[in-house]
Amino acid sequence: MATMHSKKLGKYMLSPSVILLLAWMVIPLSFTLYFSFLSYNLLMPGTEEFIGFTNYQYFLTDPAFFEALKNTLLLVGGVLLITIVGGTGFALLLNLPFWGQGIVRVLVIAPFFVMPTVSALVWKNMFMNPENGLFAYFAKFLGFEPIDFFAQIPLLSITIIVSWMWLPFAALIILTALQSLDQEQLEAAEMDGAGHIQKFFYITLPHLARPITVVILIQTIFLLSIFAEIMVTTNGGPGYASTNITYLVYAQSLLQFDVGGGSAGGIVAVILANIVAIFLLRMIGKNLEA
């Protein structure tokens, strides 16, 4: 039961957060929007002029954009596939009774806490290096030619590294959801003669639909912005083979100093992310009511 007094107080308490976030959303984004209509290169100061949609035209017709878009989709899709399937598998396994459950759980979760630059560099050098990496050693040991991961399969290599970091997240969330699964329902199904496979597809999987959707949406938000892992392994190369939209915009703005073109790319990235965000917000909004 709120009084008028506390209502007013509530507004005051809210305002710092609201004003700051509003400023954070509006100010830099309007600059980006403004820059995106300018011909503006940091190497040529004083030559800025309004050029309408030209930057967008260049950015959206650049073959690099299509390659980056394709890479972004492959990277996000690949990581989602690996982490959801692997994460569900791990969650089901960790939910079974066995000795040392707590310790194994801690081991599985660990990669999520490793900073992106560390995991990328550890994988790049100590595992995927074609001469001294552990994978190369095992390949040679078994009589195969070692793979030069970042030259031959750059995008897949980055997908593997990122999946390793996000699999624990998927596993942990799905495991949390599994633990709230109604045991009586499973027992009832068992009494009615349902086998393991039937129980999984008719009871467990439907129960997991919501957490899996949440995992997909949240990971997508983060995965669209993958940056550090690309920067320290391939720098987007060879060519544009491992450049995603985020990296392309970064390269255009801070490596080529093309503020106008980079800004147009930034706006495109915002629009793409918004499409995903709409779905995510609807999903979470529904849960708020429940």
Partner: protein, 276 residues
């Protein structure tokens, strides 16, 4: 009726779970092991797992190569600073939304969340230019400000979901007894809210510690935290696996320990309360 598990099944499950768990953990374990090797042993073929001359040398070399502890300290200041600043701004907001909700509260929460979905590259250029002009580029303060902003929605959300669980009946009873607002805040709410605040604090330090977009783009030699410092190993000189491992081990150890303590909060915080 408890479901019986035969001993044989349990042994098999234990075996599979441990094998897969160790596989996932192996890159971290391998990094820690390598950090105690000499550079020559680090690339030796066949690789040695436990039988080698253990040395602490790398941990000292890493600091000599470039001031490691400066970057470590930057990480501490930036992650703790941005988390505390964020809490300071978010606690009143979450308090207000949880206890004095209005018909707009839900929309406000959703809007806050939507700011989190703004991809950082969308505002990279203006932030870079603004920071350059105001002298915030490559400063701890600059990063504290930006990390506070990107984590503020998560902080507000997490606190909100915790505060929401505090039974309002207690507050009403206290008000009936004539408790002042000050009393309400300090003697009733704060003790009940502390566990939630602590979890939020922990998760946000972890997120800020590992943030690697803004820290890479807005820092150079002075304010670079560990994320950016470790990135300097991507263009190495000579043999460096053991040193990379030592630098990495120190960078991830504190956060790994904190992370293990905050598993449950992690689920809640990162799914915005959608999965508990």
């Amino acid at each position: 009726m408890a479901r019986e598990v035969t001993k044989k099944t349990k042994v098999i499950t234990t075996l599979i779970a441990w094998t897969l768990g160790l596989m996932i953990f192996f890159p971290i374990l391998w990094t820690v092991i390598t950090s105690f090797k000499t550079e020559a042993e680090a690339i030796a073929s066949p690789p040695s797992f436990f039988i080698f001359d253990w040395t602490f040398e790398n941990y000292f070399d890493v600091h000599e190569r470039s001031s490691y502890f400066l970057h470590f300290w930057n990480s501490v200041v930036i992650s703790v600073g941005s988390t505390l600043l964020g809490l300071l701004i978010a606690i009143p907001a979450a308090w207000s939304m949880a206890f004095v909700p209005s018909k707009n509260t839900k929309n406000l929460l959703m809007w806050m969340l939507s700011t989190k979905m703004l991809p950082p590259v969308g505002v990279l250029i203006p932030m870079y230019l603004i920071y350059k002009d105001t002298g915030l580029l490559d400063t701890q303060l600059g990063l504290i400000i930006i990390l506070t902003m990107i984590n503020l929605p998560i902080i507000v959300w997490m606190l909100y979901t915790y505060f929401k669980e505090i039974p309002t009946e207690i507050l009403e009873a206290a008000r009936m007894d004539g408790a002042s607002l000050k009393y309400e805040l300090f003697y009733i709410l704060t003790p009940m809210a502390l566990p939630g605040i602590a979890s939020t604090l922990l998760l946000n330090i972890i997120l800020s510690w590992n943030e690697a977009f803004w820290t890479l783009n807005l820092t150079a030699a002075n304010a670079a935290p560990l994320t950016a410092f470790i990135a300097s190993y991507s263009s190495p000189e000579g043999l460096f696996y053991a040193k990379l491992s030592a630098a990495s081990t120190m960078a991830i150890a504190p956060i790994l320990i904190m992370g293990w303590f905050s598993q449950k909060q992690l689920v809640r915080g990162l799914t915005f309360g959608a999965v508990k």
